[in-house]
């Protein structure tokens, strides 16, 4: 069933046209291809990443570098939170392809891709939203997280996510945008922001519909990674439907 006007306002499924010097390509290459990243934007080349399914990083980059997530937390803490997402939450909420995500993160893709930055912020929000015990650990860390409550941090993540959006944010859609909204909806719900969660849910529901993740015929031409991710996204949406 097509919604009125949908065919006329067909959304482009390509990478977002941001000010960043992001490499152009299909949605597949945009956020999942392991070889797609532009290394010239990496502030650090001294990182060492453990190539295990569970870990995000073992030796994060120096704090002296500047990252777009620095206002949220330092890079060591960011990697720790994302590592906790991989270990604790990913099995139930698998919205990333682990090797690709790990590689994108190691190459600091968030510096030049707003969509990847949005995904990272949302992953932090959902980890803190779901795991109160982890948040307490972040508070007790040697370099503690600056937020005093989970709600405060999730609210900040939401605000930051909204500020990333330009006027043409919805002109081009992809699974990463769906994931950012989906995660932020969960995070909001987990900290008691039900009204906001419900409104964001409408947004990611619409994105899922526009991406046709429920129609296997729409998967034609997608690579194996994107296909797997979209199928998982479909079932995550199905849970909500039931």
């Amino acid at each position: 069933m097509e919604y009125p006007g949908l065919q006329h306002a067909r959304y482009s499924e390509t990478s977002s046209n941001h000010d960043y010097s992001e490499s152009r390509g299909s949605i597949i290459d945009h956020h999942l291809s392991p070889g797609e990243n532009n290394l010239s934007h990496s502030p650090s080349s001294s990182q060492h990443w453990v190539n295990s399914p569970q870990s995000v990083s073992a030796n994060p980059s120096p704090l002296s570098s500047s990252y777009p997530t620095d206002d949220l937390c330092d890079r060591i803490m960011l990697n720790r939170i994302l590592n906790d997402y991989m270990e604790d939450i990913y099995p139930m909420v698998p919205v990333v392809h682990r090797p690709s995500f790990r590689q994108d993160l190691s190459r600091n893709k968030d510096i030049y891709s707003k969509d990847f930055l949005g995904l990272v912020i949302s992953l932090c929000a959902v980890t803190v939203g779901i795991m109160p015990s982890r948040f307490e650990e972040y508070r007790a860390a040697e370099s503690p997280i600056r937020f005093s409550t989970r709600t405060e941090m999730v609210n900040y993540c939401y605000q930051k996510l909204m500020e990333l959006r330009g006027h043409n944010y919805f002109d081009e859609i992809n699974l990463q945008k769906w994931a950012a909204s989906y995660l932020m909806s969960i995070a909001s719900f987990q900290v008691g922001q039900q009204n906001r969660a419900r409104m964001i849910e409408v947004e990611h529901t619409q994105l899922a519909r526009l991406l046709d993740i429920h129609q296997i015929s729409s998967y034609e031409g997608l690579n194996c990674i994107e296909t797997q991710l979209r199928k998982k996204a479909f079932w995550l949406m199905w849970y909500i439907y039931v």
């Binding site: 604790d88 939450i89 698998p94 682990r98 529901t205 990674i225 079932w235």
Partner: protein, 247 residues
């Protein structure tokens, strides 16, 4: 089921739902590391992928709405969509009983690490034989989280299906005659009591057998349920004991 108040926009509608091939939408049961851009490698050895757990959970939600094996579990959905069932409580009851039957047995064949009675600290780690020792702890923890997710969802779906059956029996069927409909068993509330009791017992077992950190990973629903169920189960058993003593 969950969206009873109809205050939320639905992701799918009945027409789309009826045309979907859900089996085709099941993710491949391999870990991400096996999926490359243009090829998919087999899951190594006896390893069970995290996606297997994800799919088991997905099939629960599938079975809650419609049969995962239409030939094996025939029920009213084959004959009538939800619009027709909404106006015919007998058809709806038959449909719900079909869903309940499938849900009840759907986890019988799941891999050992995902079974309800799996022991977190089991010595049997054959399914982890190819996993590096430093990752075994993490994997076992991840499977514990998925186990909680799967089995609490399993019980929750059965519980709300019983709620719907009770609602039909109590509010819609009392004054109707089933003579013009296919013969079905109309349960009485007291007859579902033992099933509900069994759900409570299983829930208590799950919650007590899985570490808190793995319950927490499933969100505050489960944490709330764990507290609520413990207190409710206590109330239940107190009431049960008092009732036994008075009769």
């Amino acid at each position: 089921m969950q969206n009873l108040r109809k205050e939320r926009l639905a992701y799918l509608d009945e027409i789309i739902l009826s045309t979907l091939n859900l089996e085709e939408l099941m993710p491949l049961e391999v870990d991400d590391e096996m999926i490359l851009e243009n090829s998919v490698l087999p899951q190594p050895g006896q390893e069970i992928s995290l996606t297997t757990g994800f799919n088991v959970h997905s099939r629960l939600f599938w079975a809650a709405l419609k049969s995962t094996h239409p030939g094996k579990f025939p029920d009213a959905e084959i004959k009538a969509c939800s619009c027709i069932r909404a106006s015919d409580p007998f058809l709806q009851l038959s449909h719900l009983q079909g869903r309940l039957h499938e849900l009840k047995y759907i986890l019988d064949d799941v891999p050992a690490p995902l079974r309800q009675w799996a022991i977190a600290e089991s010595d049997d780690v054959s399914w982890l034989s190819n996993t590096a020792p430093e990752h075994r702890t993490i994997l076992k923890s991840q499977f514990a989280s998925m186990r909680a997710n799967i089995h609490v969802t399993h019980l929750w779906l059965q519980s709300i299906t019983y709620d719907q059956i009770d609602n039909i029996v109590l509010n819609k069927l009392n004054n109707l005659s089933p003579s013009s409909n296919p013969p079905i068993t109309i349960p009485r509330a007291k007859l579902t009591w033992s099933e509900r009791e069994d759900i409570c017992r299983q829930l208590l077992h799950i919650l007590s057998g899985i570490p808190a950190i793995n319950l927490e990973a499933n969100g505050h629903h489960l944490v709330s349920i764990s507290f609520l169920s413990l207190s409710m189960t206590s109330i239940f058993f107190v009431a049960y004991i008092l009732n036994s003593k008075s009769t």
